[in-house]
Amino acid sequence: MNQLNLIKSSAFSRLNINFTRAFLIVFSIAIALICLTINGFVSYSVDEANLIQFSNTDKNTVTLDVGDSQINYKNVDTIGTYFSGCKYNFFNKYDIGVALIGQHYYTFAAVEVGKLQKKMLLPSVDQYGATEKTRLIGGRLIDENDVTLGKNSILIHKTIGKYVFGETSDLLGEKIKLYDKDYNTAVYEVVGVLEDTPDIKRTVNILTRNSGLFLSNNYTLPIVLSGKYAEKVSDILLFFDGSINISTIEKMRTSLANSRFENTMITNVEEQILERNYSAPNSSEIADISLNIITVILCLTSVIIIFFSIKERASEIAVRKSFGATTYDILVMFLSEIIACIFIAICYALPISTMIMAVISKSVSARLYITIFPLNLDIFLFPIAVISLTVCVLSIIPITAFAKSKIVNCLKVS
């Protein structure tokens, strides 16, 4: 053996650790990490959603309170968080998507498609463009006059525009006539074209699959027409002024006809909505408590296994102390082993928890039309910090006790 490595390798006699115990320690910590990470993911989503208070006043309307403002939304079913260009998008299954702008909860804009009420179009924050990471590539942004003079102006993303009006259209000046559920109409003129963003393209793909149209105005956000208004989407397309692409319309119609948003279905859905309780937070609270309990149990299990590992190696402590090891040396030796176990556990836990979160996210997306991106660094860092510190701090007590005890006592224990 290389002479230089001899001392180092004897220092790492920690490899002498009982592998079954080491495996159990790693396993416990890994599962605890997975639980806490998923818990963090669930809590994070729910906490974010709970930043905005929802109350169900007449079982068919949800009141959204943000800061001093209050808006009622009808037929809101399940609330979820969608982490994308806009920081918060609240979708429901059958109705409209509502988004909050940027990083400011109190400055937001929302559009209730069913009513097309311009008063609902509130000015957005200046940072909207930066938040959305989008850029105007044609025309202009909606300005103050549009709002004050009551002009029906709208911005459209390039992809959406080309999809709706055809590849040859320059989009600016195109008219979009929207119907609400009472067949009141409003014509919006495209005054600006926004550059496509990856998020938008992706969102378009998701949303057009289920609804049909995805528009955007400068005040917020995507306006999503879906669910019960999907029926109207086809009308909207038919009533487009300008050179609408017939094949596109046919395509959309076919898509809509095959979709779940048929009249009969919608009726049933509305009945369901009346009976539905908002149970998502309750479920997440139960999950929260359960996962926390499991985490605590597993952390304690790890510490108990560590304690027995230390006890089992009392003779090693005695030998090392008799050959000159200080309490500090013993502490460092065991802690480095524990940290190594934690590191291995992290290597196992993070990919597994990411996969589990992705599965949950996919499941939620499929059921609720909510897209959740779990890869938020905070979600991973917090459990790692909590579990590492807990295990290390709790382990220091028995390690110090053994390291400080008399050599003869350690020999007796062993």
Partner: protein
């Protein structure tokens, strides 16, 4: 008469009201080979533990190289590392490590200079104690006699002035016992290291130059 390496003066140690060591005076000199005998519970291991700084005496003074033993943990650890070596009855080798790794273990707690010297000595000891063939063997696979030779080499690797051996042949058969004792005797002669050995076996004690016996807490020469 030279100054003793280790000197105990009026050492008293009691357990649960029972006096185990009663005003013991003892001097261990360089190149001494001392055996301490006594019946079970007589206090021979307690005396060895006090000598090895594993335990503190209730009363009396303990000098090492003419200085009173320090109180700081760090200083005590330095003495254990640089001045003392230990051989345990049950070997107490670290399983999972090789012979060489076990021998080099004390160097882990030495300063850099001692580490370099110790690494050379590791190699020398492996050859001298005829362990070349088991140098890279895990100690779990060794026989009792081989294990004790590894333990002896480990005790010697830091070139200690004194080696404390607690029943070093207690787990060995007669052949291995004689081999180990001859080895200790040879090392005592050739390296000049003092050896203090606790045993209850008169045959083992006969290998040593000085034979002491504890009777009722008092230490005396064994006839």
């Amino acid at each position: 008469m030279p100054n003793p390496l280790l000197k105990l003066t009026q050492i008293v140690k009691s357990y649960k009201g029972r006096t185990i060591l009663d005003k013991i005076d003892l001097g261990i000199y360089s190149a001494d080979f001392v055996s301490i005998m006594g019946v079970s519970g007589a206090g021979k291991s307690t005396l060895l533990n006090i000598l090895a700084l594993f335990e503190k005496q209730d009363a009396g003074l303990y000098y090492i190289n003419g200085s009173v033993i320090p109180t700081r943990e760090f200083d005590i650890c330095r003495i254990r590392n640089n001045t003392f070596g230990f051989i345990f009855q049950s070997y107490n080798l670290l399983s999972g490590l090789t012979t060489a790794q076990n021998i080099a273990l004390p160097l882990q707690y030495s300063d850099e200079k001692h580490q370099q010297e110790g690494l050379k000595r590791t190699k020398e000891l492996i050859e001298r104690l005829d362990m070349k063939h088991i140098e890279n063997e895990r100690v779990d696979n060794l026989s009792g006699g081989e294990k004790q030779r590894v333990a002896i080499a480990r005790a010697l690797v830091n070139n200690p002035q004194v080696i404390f051996a607690d029943e070093p042949t207690g787990n060995l058969d007669a052949v291995s016992r004689n081999t180990v004792l001859s080895l200790l005797k040879g090392l005592n002669h050739s390296m000049g290291v003092a050896i203090v050995m606790v045993t209850h076996d008169p045959v083992v004690a006969d290998f040593t130059a000085r034979k002491l016996q504890i009777v009722e807490g008092k230490l005396g020469d064994r006839q």
